[in-house]
């Protein structure tokens, strides 16, 4: 077996730039997921099943459908989201990869943002598939730019907090089960605002009524991204 020869022009290891590190993590997650597609297919199938259950649980006749569409969509995303968050962190924890990430000379916040972007990407892929399915099943047009923006803002807040909390829950004894319990009470403002704003766009309400909800979403997103990335190192480092 050859011994290691270092080529003379190679520079020694150093800290990669923040963007580079974040992008490396995102690429890694996307590449792995594209290959196995386990996470995405689980989230997708679960979402469709939840919508199916809602169909019978709520008797979505034409009249009531309009008022509950926003709620059904966000409940679906909230539940399916936990699957993705759990799985994304479990992959890091199980083979000790979290240590692998921590051993690299990168900022802990870069690891955080990398995971957030990956989780966000997965969540949005699922949302992008669920929307047309729902549209077809219930003959409602969900492709409104306003609605898509709300889904983005809401998903950002959800994954920002969810990534932090999943990093915690994966290190406890109860693991997967704990994440929804930790996440849902804390992410409630996102769900409230997202449902109200979505509903506003779907029913064509005046912008002045939707604005406060969008503001709330933005405030939540900003506050919690800041809190989460500041406290992430306390969660992963001993």
């Amino acid at each position: 077996m050859a011994t290691i020869e270092v080529t003379s022009s190679a520079r020694p290891a150093s800290k990669p730039s923040f963007i580079k590190a974040v992008w490396a993590v995102v690429q890694k997650d996307l590449a792995a997921e594209l290959r196995s597609r386990e996470l995405l297919s689980a989230m997708l199938v679960f979402s469709l099943l939840v919508i199916l259950i809602f169909n019978f649980a709520l008797e979505l006749d034409i009249k009531t459908r309009q008022s509950v569409t926003a709620g059904v969509l966000w409940a679906t995303f909230a539940f399916a989201g936990t699957l993705g968050l759990n799985r994304s962190m479990a992959i890091e924890k199980d083979r000790g990869c979290l240590d692998g990430l921590l051993l690299a000379p990168v900022d802990r916040s870069a690891i955080y943002f990398g995971k957030v972007f990956s989780n966000l990407a997965f969540m949005m892929i699922v949302e992008v598939i669920v929307l047309p399915v729902y549209s077809v099943l219930y003959n409602t047009n969900l492709f409104l730019p306003g609605l898509l923006m709300v889904i983005l803002l809401g998903s950002v807040g959800y994954t920002a907090v969810g990534t932090l909390l999943s990093a915690m829950s994966v290190q406890t004894r109860t693991r997967d089960m704990l994440l929804p319990i930790l996440l849902f009470p804390v992410v409630l403002p996102v769900l409230i605002a997202a449902v109200k704003a979505s509903n506003g766009y779907l029913t064509g309400t005046d912008m002045s009524e939707i604005m406060p909800w969008l503001n709330l979403l933005i405030v939540y997103d900003v506050v919690f991204i800041a809190l989460a990335f500041m406290t992430f190192e306390f969660v992963v480092e001993e």
């Binding site: 890694k28 792995a32 240590d99 692998g100």
Partner: protein, 232 residues
């Protein structure tokens, strides 16, 4: 290369390491021995910058921990008993990811070099989850030395390996240790440790109970030395 003074590590109210002193010169290959629960893994994790000391001074490759952790990490490689590899990525994709995280230049050349060194060049496009434990461990070592670290830490690297895989690992370990690298390895396998290491330290009840070099073992064997150290 490694200097530890009066290292104390507490977990809540339990003290695992008590005033540990440890000095390693560049190029030494230290086998860290000790019973389960003595604190070997805890100690290694602190050296690896994965855990913070409660008290005491730790310095690795010329940089203090935990203050200069990033600088230490760039010069340090770690092999634990967990593979630290992504099963859904190929061998080269794994190395590429870590190469990026260490900001390495000429990454592709480096990846090929390392794969050749650990004998996995032919399997570079295979998914890691198809690898046997022995192959994963070899790739893990490849990952650990990808950035050409000055110090390499091994935590029970032979765990779960069969005879053939262990022999392969011996070779890889020797080539890692060549070229003046500093190595600290914890192991339960005294025979292997005796074969590979130049120095033997025994960690017992949170401190170094005894230390000797290969020369010091001339008139005895490692097992006797080990038992003696624990009896004290």
């Amino acid at each position: 290369m490694i200097q530890v003074r009066k290292l104390v590590k507490r977990f809540g109210l339990k003290t695992v390491l008590r005033g540990l002193d440890f000095d390693v010169q560049p190029g030494e290959f230290v086998a860290l021995l000790g019973p389960n629960g003595a604190g070997k893994t805890t100690f290694l994790r602190i050296l690896a910058s994965l855990s913070r000391p409660s008290l005491g001074d730790v310095s690795v490759a010329g940089h203090r921990l935990p203050q200069e952790a990033a600088a230490v990490r760039a010069r340090l490689g770690v092999v634990s008993h967990l593979p630290l590899l992504y099963g859904d990525l190929t061998a080269e994709e794994n190395l590429r990811f870590y190469g990026r995280m260490y900001n390495l230049s000429e990454l592709e050349t480096r990846i090929t070099e390392v794969l050749e060194m650990v004998g996995l060049e032919t399997r570079r496009r295979d998914l890691v989850r198809t690898f046997s434990r022995g192959m994963q461990q070899r790739l893990a070592i490849g990952r650990a030395v990808l950035h050409n670290p000055e110090v390499v830490l091994f935590d029970e690297p032979y765990t779960g390996l069969d005879q053939d895989a262990s022999v392969m690992l011996d070779d890889v370990l020797r080539s890692v240790a060549a070229k003046g690298r500093t190595v600290v390895m914890t192991s339960h396998d005294l025979a292997r440790a005796e074969d590979l290491a130049t120095r033997f330290d025994v960690l017992s009840r949170g401190a170094i109970a005894a230390s000797t070099t290969r020369r010091g073992l001339k008139n005895t064997n490692l097992l006797a030395f080990y038992k003696q150290a624990l009896a004290n």
